[in-house]
């Protein structure tokens, strides 16, 4: 189980502990081109040049920092605040070569660097089919028609006057982890699980709007949702979902939706693969049969080993992943680490998460962070003392229906390797004695 990487005596990019702390990002950048210098033990001299404040003195009174002895920026230096410039590594990213065109593509949420359960709107993953349109909210309209008594046209002013609700839910693309069905393909949790986000959404319950138009209670079985983007993307929503917790959303994390997430209006179908939460929503049609749209026949269908496709496979089943330590990261020496990650289920609340550090031989129950909400991300944590040896980290979630997250071999035994969609398998990260963590699969 040991890989070649464990033989590496001194891993690249290792952080050198300074007397009172680790070196900062600036020092690391400085040190990169001068590894041999570091390796010969001259680290103290280099560090002194880079961070005179913190490191130079071995035993002297802490000196005030430059920012302590000067005036900071005024208020409204930026009318809409941005993350600190030191946070520039935390970005959405594309997986090279995954798609031929950036307008029909996907970007991934940097899960490895997020805390808690809420995804900042600016790094929420993106999935467009014909690019993200710039929709003028004054001109935007929602048409509701079909099997209804009163077909309606609603402006954004109208929609935002309806009784509203705010709810925290995850959004996961059905193809999340889709590159991992046959083998590992990508290095970090951003690429293996990053078509995932969780936000507080504000909007109107679809059931409220359906009452307003007087939907046909006897014959209405499905709703077609249609986007106003160039792909005019359509998905069929079963009426049981529509009447339960589906929302027509304009707010996300306290502000209006971002353009790339459907501004000014999108559908939200909690617990169901992201494609059903149609962005830039312009039309809802109540009907009695499913539509067999392109995105529910040519795509977003799960190919089984016998050659059949599972159609209308909406529910995102119980799943979890460790975000720290995770693939592409490097541990900074032996000792205490908090293993932490995310768990979620499209069927309800997370009941329990277990963590293994030995490839699934033995498991230990993790702590769940409040709040534990239905169809929302749940943060889990477990204390871990790394002894410097090889470890295989895994997490396994159980939801309130009793569904236990399966292993990759268990999932493959039933669904094969060509399904693309709905890979909810246990993820394994290999910690090497060098401190490097890599994406692996085990049997």
């Amino acid at each position: 189980m040991n890989s070649f990487r464990e033989k590496s005596t001194r891993p690249a990019g290792r952080v050198v502990p300074a007397p009172e702390n680790h070196l900062g990002a600036g020092t690391i950048r400085l040190a990169k081109g001068r590894r041999s210098f570091l390796a010969t033990g001259a680290a103290a001299g280099l560090a002194a040049a880079a961070v005179p404040l913190a490191v130079r003195a071995k035993d002297a009174p802490l000196a005030p920092a430059p920012w302590t002895r000067s005036l900071g920026a005024p208020v409204v230096a930026t009318g809409y605040g941005m993350p600190s410039k030191f946070e520039s590594n935390v970005q959405r990213r594309q997986s090279p070569g995954l798609t031929p065109q950036p307008q029909a593509s996907v970007s991934f949420t940097p899960l490895q660097n997020l805390f808690g359960i809420i995804t900042p709107s600016g790094v929420h993953f993106e999935r467009h089919h014909s690019g993200a349109p710039e929709v003028d909210p004054d001109q935007h309209r929602l048409l509701i028609h079909g099997l209804v008594k009163r077909p309606l046209i609603l402006s954004m002013d109208d929609i935002m006057r309806f009784p509203s609700v705010s709810r925290i839910h995850f959004l996961e693309c059905g193809a999340n982890s889709g590159m991992e069905w046959a083998n590992v393909a990508v290095p970090t949790v951003q690429y293996t699980h990053g078509m995932l986000a969780c936000s507080e959404f504000t909007g109107v319950l679809l059931s409220t709007l359906l009452d307003e138009v007087g939907y046909d209670r006897k014959n209405a079985k499905f709703i077609l949702a249609e986007g106003s983007d160039g792909s005019a993307l359509t998905r069929t929503i079963p009426i049981e979902f529509a009447l339960n917790d589906v929302m027509v959303v304009y707010g996300q994390n306290g502000e209006m939706l971002r353009q790339e997430n459907g501004y000014p209006l999108r559908l939200l179908v909690p617990g169901v693969q992201g494609v059903s939460s149609v962005k830039w929503l312009r039309r809802l049609e109540v009907g009695d049969k499913p539509w067999n749209a392109r995105e529910e026949s040519l795509h977003y269908v799960d190919l089984m080993p016998d050659g059949t496709h599972r159609q209308y496979s909406g529910i995102q089943e119980v799943k979890s992943v460790i975000t720290t330590p995770s693939g592409g990261q490097m541990l900074q020496g032996k000792g205490y680490y908090e293993i932490t990650g995310l768990a979620w289920s499209g069927r309800g609340r997370i009941k329990r998460v277990d963590v293994s550090a030995d490839g699934g031989r033995n498991w230990q129950q993790a702590r769940l962070q409040d709040p534990v909400l239905s169809k929302a991300l749940t943060r889990f944590r477990l204390d871990w003392n790394w002894d410097g040896g090889p470890a295989l980290l895994q997490s396994r979630a159980v939801d309130e229906t009793g569904h236990i997250q399966p292993s990759m071999p268990q999932l493959r035994a039933v669904r094969g390797t060509r399904s693309i969609y709905h890979n909810n398998a246990i993820k394994t990260w290999s910690v090497q004695p060098s401190g490097e963590v890599w994406n692996v699969q085990i049997a």
Binding site: S8, G13, K32, H145, P187, A232, P406, I442
Partner: protein
């Protein structure tokens, strides 16, 4: 004065109170009765709805009047579609819109290609209803100019794509009269017999709840090969340089690393050199080239035969694989395989030059 003012005030007060009460009652009614509505928005007229109501369903709901022939479709296709989808719908840059349909599939309604592990997944082998093809071309194509086609043009293009998949003959005319009657090769290939339709659905795969001594032996079955270390660019720049971990600097191969790598790297590369056929499948070469038959591009045996006596065949083929080409084997261009590693291209070229056996 005081009396009359008092009287007026009490009347006003009563009115206000009544008003409040009446409003409260109205709100309760609005929330509790079907007849009561919030009353926002405006009625949509039939003419307004017709402008956006473009969906077409397999049962004929929404089918537009119109007609178009395969021949008309071919002209439109060559002008508006072939640049992305390939002259014969073979482009594997996007989902191939033709190929893989076997004559028997039309009878069974099950695309046999989907049953084999490397079977072609195309529009022809996957789609179950022709209405979906019409609906999608109508709403979203051409990609950079959607909703620009007339219904007749959409019928013609749909007819041509069906013909490319050998579902309808060359003299076929598609119209609102026969759109829902087209028998697709994979019409029986979809199932809704699974647990992901509903929250209450039964999951098909259940994990284990074992906590102790659950497995005897743990074996790593897959890991990223050494050459892929930096394939997603430098991971050090993709992680916050603060806190318990750092991103791995994947640009650095220092002495200790390169000393450690070869044994494993050679192992990873070995199968490719020993068995280039595995590489062909892994790199999706076989999506366009059969070992002994033409798919979109020529069969590997034909390529081998053509360059058998060419002295610099290996370097020539490496260049062709990496840069792509057009016109040697027909009109369909081979896209450049820029993502293919030099070593892999070399291994494939060497194998072809050696007879492709």
């Amino acid at each position: 004065m005081s009396r009359s003012l008092k009287g007026a005030m009490s009347t006003l007060l009563a009115a206000v109170l009544c008003g409040v009460t009446a409003t409260a009652v109205a709100q309760v009614n609005a929330a509790s009765t079907e007849a009561g509505r919030i009353g926002l928005g405006r009625a949509a007229t039939a003419i307004e709805i017709a402008g956006w109501d473009i969906d077409v369903r397999p049962d004929g709901h929404g089918v537009r009047k119109g007609r178009g022939t395969v021949a008309q479709g071919q002209d439109l296709y060559d002008a508006k579609c072939a640049s992305c989808h390939g002259t014969f719908g073979e482009s594997n840059r996007y989902l191939s819109i033709a190929g893989g349909v076997k004559p028997d599939d039309l009878k069974t309604g099950r695309a046999s290609a989907l049953k084999s592990p490397d079977g072609l997944r195309t529009l022809g082998t996957k789609l179950n209803y022709a209405t979906t093809l019409w609906d999608y071309i109508n709403r979203a194509m051409p990609w950079t100019n959607p909703q620009s086609l007339t219904p007749d043009e959409v019928y013609a293009l749909t007819a041509y794509v069906l013909h490319l998949n050998e579902i309808v003959p060359a003299n076929f005319e598609l119209s609102d009269q026969n759109l829902t009657k087209v028998q697709m090769p994979n019409r029986n290939g979809m199932t809704t017999d699974h647990g992901m339709l509903s929250v209450k659905g039964k999951p098909d795969v259940q994990g284990s709840s074992c906590m102790k001594d659950c497995v005897k032996e743990v074996k790593i079955t897959s890991e990223l090969p050494a050459f892929a270390r930096n394939q997603h660019d430098n991971l050090a720049e993709q992680s916050r340089p603060l806190g318990p971990t750092r991103g791995i600097d994947t640009t650095i191969y220092d002495a200790s690393r390169s000393a450690a790598v070869p044994a494993r790297a050679a192992q990873a590369a070995a199968p490719a050199l020993a068995d280039p056929k595995a590489l062909l499948a892994q790199k999706a070469c076989t999506a366009c080239h059969g070992l002994t038959n033409k798919v979109v591009g020529p069969g590997f045996n034909d390529v081998a035969a053509r360059y058998r006596d060419k002295a610099d065949a290996v370097s020539y083929l490496v260049k062709k694989i990496k840069s792509g080409g057009e016109g040697v084997w027909g009109a369909v261009p081979m896209p450049p395989q820029t993502a293919l590693k030099d070593d892999d291209a070399h291994a494939i070229a060497k194998w072809i030059a050696g007879g492709a056996r």
